[in-house]
Subunit: 244 residues, 2 copies
């Protein structure tokens, strides 16, 4: 059997998230059905990350085993012909048998987009968080530095996950302002459940003056989810890249 790695882009607006579930449409199910119908096999795909409902991806990675004779370079077009318009396979490559999209990941990069103005968003409304309150961008940038490095991020984790360790290393956190758009890029060796959305929400709370930027270090050390900020909405989040 061949082990195929695929890079998937999707608009998560219509979906209940990545992971297959009963009574709700998931990205995993739609992609598995498309590949299964193409190769006439019963395909299971392993995703690098179980993105939540409404979260987008420009670079989700998954792998699956297949006996198909279709050449690897022809797979994206063949799968895409069976996918709806909001999911697309960008790339396929054959990898060694021991490649596992989730366990082999060495890091991920997410973006989070905030529209900061009074009026609700219309253009690109499904790809942003709307923040109608004035934000102190400089305070957000200054505070963001405290997230860099190796920390126990328990204070920035939603309950419901059961990973062995809550220590993660944030390698990069960049904030860019372009008119009324604030964009955050964050890269780490891995993320806890809702970690990016809680960091984004905390930075918004700092921008609004509801949390002091100087408190971040203390909030991290407290390991107390109650002390961090709101969980920012799913729509602003996009899985940009997975590293191996």
């Amino acid at each position: 059997m061949r082990n195929i790695k695929i890079v998937i882009e999707y608009d998560g607006t219509r979906y209940a998230g990545w992971q297959r579930q009963k009574n709700a449409m998931s990205i995993q199910e739609v992609v598995e059905d498309a590949i299964s119908s193409l190769t006439k096999e019963d395909i299971t795909i392993i995703g690098s990350s179980r993105t939540d409902a409404g979260v987008h991806a420009r670079g989700q990675v998954a792998n699956f085993f297949t006996d198909t004779k279709i050449p690897t370079e022809k797979l994206p077009q063949a799968i895409n012909a069976r996918l709806p318009e909001d999911i697309t396979v960008i790339l396929a490559e054959e990898v060694s048998d021991n490649f596992h999209a989730r366990y082999c990941s060495r890091g991920k990069r997410y973006s989070y987009t905030i529209l900061n103005r009074r009026a609700k968003p219309a253009y690109m409304r499904n790809y942003v968080m709307h923040c109608p309150y004035a934000l102190d961008f400089e305070a957000m940038v200054k505070a963001s530095r405290a997230f860099l490095g190796k920390h126990d991020f328990s204070a920035f984790r939603a309950s419901g996950s059961s990973v062995k360790t809550s220590v993660r290393t944030v390698r990069q956190l960049e904030l860019i302002k372009d008119g009324d758009i604030i964009k955050m890029f964050i890269e780490a060796d891995g993320f806890l459940y809702n970690m990016v959305r809680i960091i984004a929400g905390t930075l918004v709370d700092i921008g609004r003056g509801r949390i002091a930027g100087s408190e971040i270090e203390e909030i991290i050390l407290s390991k107390d989810r109650e002390r961090a900020g709101q969980t920012a909405p799913a729509s602003g989040l996009c899985l940009e890249k997975v590293y191996y």
Copy 2:
């Protein structure tokens, strides 16, 4: 009566364009209905530009006359409460009686976005033109300079318009590449019908090698629409700003 200038953002995907028409939903009609229902008047709005079906705007400008007592600064929120999620009023201000959104415009700025990769777009699919062919970006940048300045742009005008003169001054034309996205920003004192989309389509044809970049000057001088490139699709186009 007060003359109110509004700045409107919209996602044009669902609409038959700006201009009110029979048997098809237009942005103008939806905004007029929202304001009329708010002020209990029969409102007509004058738009700066009749954007086509599928074209977006982040900064369309319109004006209308009203006797409403609602304070100007409260108008955007009040109108937005009656608008669908893909149209939003960003700003309202009272202007002098002789302000006319179309006739007083001194220039406009548009963006055009191209996704240049093999796989179809999913994320942001309604806001881009998809070009699956390899594009020579440097050739496009070099050729784009020939559009700058004052020219008769008849070769870059779709038939069906009846303006007095086809001479326009392109003040700025910038191309930016970010990964597989190519973005064009173009600013002029005014645009002929489909001018931005024909310029974008011609630059794509240059990038693909179907038109030589060195020919642009000659094509402009020929005033022959047949010699310019394809009309790029509506989805990639966005009216960014109108100058007064």
